[in-house]
Amino acid sequence: MRSYSAFAVAREAARYHMGWERAWASPEPKKKYEVIIIGAGGHGLATAYYLGKNFGITNVAVIEKGWLGGGNTGRNTTIIRSNYLQDPSAAIYEKARSLYETMSQDLNYNVMFSPRGVMMLAQTQHEIRGYQRTAHANALQGVTTEWISPGRVKELVPIINLDGPRYPVLGALWQARAGTARHDAVAWGYARACSDMGMHVIQKCEVTGVRQEGGKVTGVTTTRGDIGCDKLGIVVAGHSGHVADMAGFRLPVESVALQALVSEPIKPCMDVVVMANTVHGYMSQSDKGEMVIGGGADGYNNYTQRGSFHHIEETVRALVETFPMISRLKMLRQWGGIVDMTGDRSPILSKTPLEGCFINCGWGTGGFKAIPGSGWGMAELMAKGQSPLTDAFSLDRFKEGRFIDESVAAGVAH
């Protein structure tokens, strides 16, 4: 694979850009692989990438029913932060955030990581206490966050209205090294690197069954025939329950729609990400100038990738109070993704009752930020049978009452 560089751009410009190679191959499936990953979203691709990079396992196929990155990885609002409350969360999200800092260099693919800072507004007394507690927990975990005053909030976000009648801004939890990245590029960059290692990224191929013999996984049935494997990773987000069912076990997960929307592009007006969890809304400005807006998940089980309009209305209504200048903005697009929610709002990275079969799911409304850390841990789990990053997130934690309660940190969708 030719590497991307300023020199390459000049070279290709000189020959009318006719020399660019395809970023990844589209191979026919083989009869068998050492490892199959179901789902070419960020988490599936990152798992494959670190299996190759960290463990030298490259006889790998990533099987995707649609197009790579077409699930939640291409539908999210790209917020990256690691200011969670519990230690296992801080470990995996901070690992991910730090890997994002060098991802473009590592993959030789510009993922446009922008550490612009993420601010979580406190708009009730309860939130002040909650975020101060998080700031203290983060200090102990080695995650740099700070509690800031309303004055500092206004300095960082001049367009904010601090004394809204219903929900005044009382301060904020600020993570300066958090930010955003280009979501598609994360999927594309990993896919290109996987393909370069000789792995197969197989698109338009739906897994319709999981084959097993004597309690051990032997392969999958797909719309392009049977494919064998020694180890299987299920990494399908909102479709986890459905695929787990094929493998013969049940998950503590429910699938619901989460929506987002963007406005028409406007001049630069806000260079940080602001989240307002009490009113269930958050906003950032994309490089194109669009205001990227998200809110809370819809309340009922749904597989349609469409949500209810009144949730959009609630989100926008709340944000208009805090950002009066957006009241005249026209909204351009709205979309939804199907997110996989667990009871404690933490993910599951685990072995399963089926030997050789692993699952990575439950990232719900907030897994984009975790992609590299999750892939790193999941690869170790699949290669070695355990990983310090993933052990606490095992499937049996629900039965054992070992919850990783992030309902405060992850309560709103992001």
Partner: protein, 109 residues
């Protein structure tokens, strides 16, 4: 917008009047039950890609709970019925079977 017929007050209620309450007909295990039973009661849900039996509350209306059978893929509503029902009524099961021949649901009682 999703609309559901409230069997308590007889109104065709808009989604904005309703509060979703999760899966219906859960088997509630009590003291003396095994870890597996508690686990299934507290955490594992059907989460089907297809017909789903669920609880709704007519929150901004009569305030009462009722049950609905709704398809999570097509968003079709097969029917609603009183919360005091232990098992989906036969006509709703028939409507589901007509759309999804052979569709299986777990045992209720």
């Amino acid at each position: 917008m999703l609309t559901l017929h409230c069997p308590n007050c007889g109104i065709q209620a808009d989604e904005t009047e309703l509060a979703p309450g999760g899966e219906a007909h859960l088997k509630r295990y009590g003291p003396g039950s095994s870890d597996d039973e508690f686990h299934s009661y507290l955490f594992t849900r059907e989460n089907p890609r297809g017909p789903h039996f669920e609880r709704w509350r007519h929150a901004a209306g009569c305030g009462k709970w009722f049950l609905a059978a709704r398809d999570t893929v097509t968003l079709e509503v097969y029917g609603t019925y009183p919360a005091q029902t232990l098992e989906p009524p036969q006509d709703i099961k028939d409507a589901i079977t007509a759309k999804h021949p052979g569709w299986q649901w777990r045992e209720f009682s």
